[in-house]
């Protein structure tokens, strides 16, 4: 085993950052970038790692998969970086994996995705389907009904989420009344047309796997055609505070999201992190599930680097599996065998302030199971007795 030369050299520890500042999913990625910056500043304020500063090398891939790959290689070869945080859509992660595997670098990926992946060189801190899609399906099919309309962005993650949802609908003898995929850059008119079709079909709820800029379009179109979220909500595992900030609370109110984190979580760690974030980036800044994963993965990384006194990926991979951290959502843990993260699934409903009222929560953190094909609905989602009246919140 080679010792890490870069880890022993003086000077800052450089970490590559690949979040987009422009492009279709930049709203969420921008919050991930700022979360990474906040965490790095916190780590440095606390004395850095082994007396060395953490220095971020931020490059902007503009939501183009090829650029993620090119910039990842640039970070490794020109900036001598061994650790990269970033990527959002699966296409961007798939583009970077061959690069980090070839150079034995390490990617920290903080976005929910469709599962069925394990790379020794990736740490996955976002939710796997058994931690978001599955709870959402169980909750919605139990409490709203099983006539479901599906709308998603036209790429792999929505297909897989809809497969999981479809299986669970069929199991209950329910009905998939519509399955629509719109291009990532679809315009307002396409969403308006979809909303009109939904109104005509009158499903029990809408399962949305739309990502990025399409999300505000969908929710606005829904409001535009006069649909009532309290009677027929859109349920999503991607719609977060970042998109609500764009569409406005008035449009978002009543719709439902499953995630391992909402800004409204009432923990000491979350209140402090949100306060520090707003003090640094502005009082109007909202946090979200992707923000939180981007934030806590930096602290997990710093902790791992302290333990092995290095930023060498091979050494870090000896301590990262099994490592725990008190994240804003609660205590998280990197699984020993699949490099994914134990998370705390929640079901939230947007209130009039544009924040999530938590209407369902897993009784304990849930192990990520990225390779599960046949899902078994978690009991807590069907046994929950949420107050779904207009002003309802956590019991």
């Amino acid at each position: 085993m080679t010792s890490a030369d870069s880890g022993c050299a003086p000077g800052p520890i450089r970490i590559g950052v690949l979040y987009s500042r422009s492009g279709v999913t930049s709203a969420a990625e921008l919050t991930q970038l700022q979360a990474t910056m906040l965490a790095a500043e916190e780590i440095n304020l606390a004395g850095g790692v082994l007396g060395r500063e953490v220095e971020l090398v931020c490059l902007d891939p503009q939501c183009q998969p090829r650029r993620y790959a090119d910039l990842a290689e640039q970070l490794i070869l020109e900036h001598r970086v061994r650790i990269i945080v970033g990527c959002y859509m699966s296409s961007t992660r798939k583009a970077v994996i061959p690069i980090v595997e070839r150079h034995n670098a390490l990617l920290f990926y903080a976005t929910p995705y469709e599962g069925f992946e394990y790379s020794r060189n990736v740490i996955y801190t976002g939710a796997a389907p058994n931690q978001n899609t599955l709870p959402l399906a169980g909750f919605m099919l139990t409490h709203y009904g099983s006539r479901v309309s599906m709308i998603g962005s036209d790429y792999v993650c929505p297909y897989e989420s809809n497969r999981v949802m479809s299986d669970l609908i069929l199991e209950r003898g329910g009905e998939k009344v519509d399955e629509t995929y719109l291009p990532l850059d679809a315009r307002w008119e396409s969403y308006l047309e979809a909303a009109r079709r939904i109104r005509r079909l009158a499903p029990d709820f809408i399962f949305s796997t739309v990502v990025g800029e399409g999300i505000p379009h969908l929710y606005r179109a829904f409001a535009h055609v006069g649909l009532d979220p309290y009677r027929m909500p859109i349920a999503s595992h991607m719609t977060s505070e970042a998109e609500i900030a764009i569409m406005g609370a008035g449009v978002a109110e009543g719709h439902i999201t499953s995630a391992a984190y909402f800004q409204s979580i009432d923990t000491q760690a979350n209140r402090l992190a949100v306060a520090r974030y707003q003090a640094r980036f502005g009082g109007d800044q909202a946090t979200n599930m992707c923000w939180e994963a981007a934030y806590f993965q930096m602290h997990l990384l710093a902790d791992a680097m302290r333990r092995v006194a290095s930023d060498d990926p091979t050494l870090l991979l000896r301590v990262l599996p099994g490592l725990e951290f008190d994240a804003p959502q609660g205590r998280v843990r990197i699984d020993e065998h699949n490099n994914h993260t134990y998370l705390h699934p929640l079901i939230g409903r947007v209130n009039a302030e544009g924040r999530f009222d938590i209407i369902g929560r897993a009784p304990e953190r849930v192990k990520a199971d990225p390779y599960v094909v046949s899902h078994r609905t978690p009991r807590w989602t069907t046994d929950a007795r949420p107050d779904l009246a207009r002003s309802g919140g956590a019991r």
Partner: protein
């Protein structure tokens, strides 16, 4: 390509799939075992040999290397043995020949990576099932073909012996079968054998 309405049964049943891994405990072996466990299969590892497969084995993942070439696995080639996915380290003709003898539908290259194993399993199980179904279908066709041939021969004999038409010969065979409460091909067989006995 259209997405199927439902998840294929082979994938749904992966968590109850029993996999036998015949592989040394090296880095490839560890990677295989870890990925199979991530996928959620029930795994048993053997090395160097396994003379009797555990009951219910649904898939074998097996190292094909110079040292395995001389090994003899008694269950290989038996009609009841499950599909084999060879893990190949060499691409020389001798090793490839050994792989071909396993009737594999897909292979896993060494060094083993986590990526690709799930697809290899799905391909192997699906093709194996299809091939089994095809074999059974061919068996049935062959049996049917043999019966038809026998009946044809018997008809020919009856036509010549009795001087009747083909249709009349067939009706004679049929009524004999009904009288004796036997299959028409049984009666036909008796006639053909009797005829052969007499033809000296």
């Amino acid at each position: 390509m259209k997405r199927p309405a439902e998840t294929p049964a082979i994938l749904r049943d992966l968590r109850s799939l029993k996999v036998v891994v015949i592989h040394p405990h090296d880095q490839d072996g560890e990677e295989l075992l870890a990925q199979l466990q991530r996928i959620g299969c029930e795994v048993e590892v053997f090395w160097p040999r396994v003379d009797c497969l555990p009951a219910g084995t649904g898939l074998i993942v097996m190292a094909v290397r110079p040292e395995t070439l001389s090994m003899n696995f008694p269950w290989l080639g038996a009609s009841s043995s499950p599909p084999v996915i060879p893990v190949v380290t060499y691409e020389n003709p001798i090793t490839i020949e050994a792989v071909l003898q396993l009737n594999a539908f897909t292979t896993i290259p060494s060094p083993v990576r986590s990526f690709g194993l799930l697809t290899a399993i799905a391909v192997a199980l699906t093709q194996f099932k299809a091939s089994r179904a095809r074999d059974r279908y061919i068996d049935r066709l062959e049996q049917k073909q043999a019966k038809l041939r026998l009946i044809q021969q018997a008809k020919q004999i009856v036509m010549e012996a009795r001087g009747v038409s083909e249709e009349e010969a067939y009706q004679l065979l049929r009524s004999q079968a009904m009288l004796k409460r036997e299959q028409i091909e049984t009666v036909a067989g008796e006639i053909v054998r009797a005829h052969e006995t007499l033809s000296f």
